[in-house]
Symmetry: C2
DNA sequence: CGGTCCTTTGACACAGGTCAAGTAATGTGG
DNA sequence: CCACATTACTTGACCTGTGTCAAAGGACCG
């Protein structure tokens, strides 16, 4: 037992969910964001043909959540699959006593809710105001059976997540606090670059506690390690929710690999 | 830096590889082991039709490795995908200084080597004499494009691995040594049950150091924790490579979730 | 402007890592 | 079948990185 409880936080009310009927800016390319996915993966991401996109659009709905809201809880019936179009989401698993492991932070272009179990294996919560595309599981599975290109793309995405999960196991199992935080900041930085944003002022939509639960540490240790890296001149902290990477090279070597 | 190096062990010679031309007992059902996979997943694992199986068999070869041999190294060109038909395999990632994280132990029915990168993201090494089916990447990808059922099955398997990886993150990030070892033993036990073996004398083909590198501990701590669980009557150690679960219920509560 | 929450910092504790024997299991040559 | 070497596992003594507990800023908000 190496960490305090988040039980209170865990019992979050199921997020109030407002369905936005009409599509806004990105009609569908963010649903299966070929550009983002390809950039991330160097993958062979053939675009869906227009007819296929239309069938997807037919079953899709847009949803928005306010900061702090739950999208779904661990163990709830898995009725929807989502892609993030704006905002930031955390996904996490809980132990009975409230210890929490954040298994991922999601940004525009990422998807969540894929499981062929009929229950979600993790909870998902919004960190900032967030827009998502929602696909009902049943409908999506029916389309999958008929659209090999769609399934191919999902396999592609799942393979990536798997590789990322293995990197995270290495981090959690074998890296020091300093190495973990350095790795984390570089990961966020590269995520921003993939999405066409700047590499350096990295934005931190999540709390220190969220970072701690992602890195297998406590918020105190995260805080101390930020201070340490700042003192050593590897980064600056203009605000609590923002980091500039002053010496990315040094940060990379601090990341251990 | 919380663990000693395995650098010497890491520089394993590429395993000598003997190709067995003719199929032995399981022609193909272990390649895409519908029964095992379905049992593990409660998944909708439609069997491949005979024509599809024949095409798979045409590109498949059988390979065997002696204990301790490497199947492939992290970073090597990913030229093959494998399924285990007999024996036991470990897959792992390394840091520059030799720290190691075992990301999985594989048994008959499991597959490895799937990546749409052109390099393996992890190394794989055989723990006991092991037989595998090997599929050349190029050939398999060509078949994938034409056989949606095959792709569906791979997506299914990848989803499972992803769920398992998330469980492992929870273990590595938030569980105590005792909880980790208990979880590990139960996992092995359930793996045996899935493969139609007995639940209780759990066999441990891997060394204490391998277990440690899987659980994010040291071999000393693994050893001490085994002793502790034995002393408390939760299990017995008839030999170093075998554990009987005396009180699986108590072990489950010791596992923390 | 007082309250609440989050972050930072400090003092201290402890789980698990490190170092070092000691012991058992396995293999090898004679 | 037995010295002997080798390797893996266990156990003990001690140490350290990170967790725990506590308190003091700071930011935000009604």
């Amino acid at each position: 037992m190496t960490s305090r409880n988040h039980a209170a936080e865990a019992t979050s009310a199921a997020g109030r969910l407002s369905v936005v009927a009409r599509a806004e800016r990105h009609p569908l390319h963010l649903v299966y964001p070929c550009d983002i996915c390809a950039a991330r993966a160097q993958s062979s991401c053939a675009p869906l043909d227009p007819a296929e996109q239309a069938r997807l659009a037919a079953i899709m709905s847009r949803v928005k959540f306010e900061p702090g809201r739950s999208i779904f809880d661990e163990g709830a019936p898995a009725e929807g699959v989502y892609t993030v179009t704006a905002g930031a989401v955390k996904v996490f698993k809980l132990l009975a006593d409230g210890r929490r492991q954040v298994t991922g932070f999601l940004f525009p272009g990422d998807f969540l809710g894929l499981t062929h179990d009929d229950r979600y294996a993790y909870g998902a919560e919004v960190m900032t105001a967030t827009s998502l595309c929602r696909f009902p599981r049943r409908g999506l599975e029916a389309l999958l059976a008929e659209m090999p290109a769609l399934e191919h793309r999902l396999l592609d995405m799942a393979s990536h997540e798997l590789a990322a999960a293995q990197d995270q196991m290495l981090l959690l199992g074998r890296k020091s606090a300093r190495e973990r935080l350095a790795s984390f900041l570089l990961m966020l930085s590269e995520g921003q670059a993939r999405r066409g944003e700047e590499r350096s002022p990295v934005s931190l939509p999540m709390s220190r506690a969220d970072i701690a639960d992602y890195l297998g540490l406590t918020s105190e240790t995260v805080s101390r390690t930020f201070t340490q890296l700042k003192t050593q001149g590897l980064l600056q902290l203009p605000g609590e929710k923002e980091v500039s990477l002053v010496r990315p090279d040094a940060l990379r070597s601090a990341a251990g690999a």
